[in-house]
Symmetry: C2
Subunit: 350 residues, 2 copies
């Protein structure tokens, strides 16, 4: 591990539509520009021009709209620091293996997003009283084999989340226009929810008077466990993860080091992070820094002096203010979503 390294985004082997960013070099709350993880549903990545782009707002509204980028930017802006995590992060830890992109633990990143509250635009359009959900349609589309036809990437939000002032139509990321791979010129940012909700390259908002039942909501992004009724993948489950040391690092027996990492939850502030340096036999509370915002990860750290030479297994486990605790046993589901089992690394002391 090196103090001057910066986090790098690396492709997932065999899955060009996913790149993850190991946290081993992550310092501070912000994922450095160019390092934010990516996960697309259709390739190639849309490369859109600002000129000519329009966001249409239609469906159960009083006044359908078509907003240019300039018109969107002219509305009152709102900024949110949000951690996004892919619902498939830590999928590799599932046993038996689950279908999907085999992310290790790096499909999570944090940025400052600026845009317009989705609520502002929806109130501009005037929600009809029968409005129930808001469907966001991206420009990205492709052939879906199981359906035998082309579909866009699209996802709906219940009104309660769509009208949260922190749910954004974002056009800036860390003070710059969105990079192409993050949805230029505008995307949804749905803080607290797994990343798939934050539809990129947004083309259309359709207000629905009934629940949406499309592919990326009823066939994908569901917790599917044999013998149980499937439930939708939505809020990020509480998770604490290691930054340093990294799995497999060599440390010096008897020399104190700082064990540190990040923790987040879509269901409430992280209230506690406990670390075990003896494979789970005992646990110590880590120190927590204040998160830079309600929807962002916080940092945790613990001083630790490795004892005798040899391998040591470290575990970390987060708890959030809603009382959710990371499970010791990984909660398996067929599509491998929301795996927030306790994280584990092994280091070698010598």
């Amino acid at each position: 591990m090196s103090a001057t390294a910066t986090p790098q985004r690396v492709p997932v082997p065999g899955h060009p539509e996913g790149c993850e960013t190991p946290l081993t070099a992550q310092v501070g709350w912000q994922t450095p520009p160019g390092a934010f993880y990516t996960r697309s549903h259709f390739l190639p990545t849309p490369v859109l021009a600002a000129e000519g782009w329009q966001l249409s707002v239609e469906g159960a509204v009083e006044r359908p709209l078509a907003l240019t980028l300039d018109e969107l930017r002219a509305l009152p802006s709102h900024t949110v620091i949000a951690t996004l995590e892919c619902a498939g992060n830590n999928r590799t830890a599932l046993d038996p293996p689950a279908d999907g992109i085999q992310f290790r633990c790096g499909a999570v990143s944090t940025a400052e997003w600026r845009g317009v509250s989705l609520a502002t635009v929806l109130h501009e359009a005037g929600l009809r009283s029968d409005a129930q959900e808001v469907l966001g349609e991206g420009t990205d589309r492709g052939h879906e084999k199981s359906l035998g036809r082309e579909i866009p990437f699209e996802r709906s939000l219940p009104l309660a989340k769509a009208l949260d002032p922190d749910t954004l139509l974002a056009y800036e990321m860390n003070g710059q226009p969105l990079p192409d791979e993050h949805g230029f010129p505008a995307r949804l940012i749905v803080p607290g929810w797994y990343g798939m909700a934050s539809v990129k390259w947004l083309a259309k908002l359709q207000v629905l008077d009934r629940p949406y039942g499309g592919f990326f909501q009823k066939t994908k992004y569901i917790y599917e466990v044999p013998g149980q009724e499937s439930t939708p993948v939505r809020t990020m489950r509480v998770k604490a993860t290691f930054a340093q040391p990294a799995d497999g690092d060599t440390v010096t027996a008897g020399a104190p080091i700082t064990v540190r990492g990040y923790a987040w939850s879509g269901e409430g502030a992280v209230s506690r992070v406990a670390v075990s340096t003896d494979g789970g036999a005992s646990w110590q509370d880590a120190e927590l820094t204040a998160a830079p915002g309600q929807w962002a990860w916080c940092e945790w750290s613990l001083e630790w002096t490795p004892g005798a030479a040899g391998a040591a297994t470290l575990l970390v486990r987060g708890t959030d203010a809603a009382g959710n605790v990371q499970p010791l046993d990984v909660p398996w589901n067929r599509l491998g979503y929301g795996n927030n089992g306790v994280q584990q690394i092994t280091v070698n002391a010598r």
Copy 2:
């Protein structure tokens, strides 16, 4: 008619729970203090103390709240000028007569309301994703014969309306604390909807994960027409009404006068008011003043010179931006709600 008169609130004979305010002396947009029409569902009027009052927020929320009046007043405030009309206004014009308080045309008034956006409090409590409606319960309660038990006055709002920034938890009316008869210490103000939605003496907000089906929503305040499916009473239908001259006034033949009144709609700005001074044979467009806000009535006026001596029948008819027009034939419904038939007065020229 006198230039120095001010509008007075007068009881509806036989109905102590309703007082209306004829518009014949109304000038400007604001109904004078003490003259705003009243309609209660249970008597006596609750008289509550600020101290000890709490508004509980519960149900499908992350963080149930109990707000004191001071806590409510400490939240960011928002002000809305809103016209409220009783859903039973103009019930007397129905033929055959409909059950309910026999309001003539004075159950409509306008005030400036200050409070906190209901959305602010709901986001503070954190809406759960399954939130569908927000039920407001008043302190007013009483025995409902048809149910054989005591019930509170309570009404729900769909999320789309509950989260509109202009839907208020109001604690001030025209710059003063709410009068007792208007819901002290806090009430809902639901702009654009008939008055029953603006629950007074608010005690509890309950976020529901299913549609509400209580008495004041499914048995009362529905448009009930034999042979048709009943529909809920919600937005105020477009209506233009006379202020001066008043029905039965004497005017001077050959001497020009100003015919004037008020017009409003819960479904869009009033775009046109047409007046007939010959019993409907011909129509002239009235002049409109700008309304003091999106949710308030506007004033209309027309210069008119009464011709030959004798009775003259004047009609007025409003149109709103959504294209709704006041019907010439009164749309009858069993409970006599939403009567926005064209208004008519007769004056005697001599």
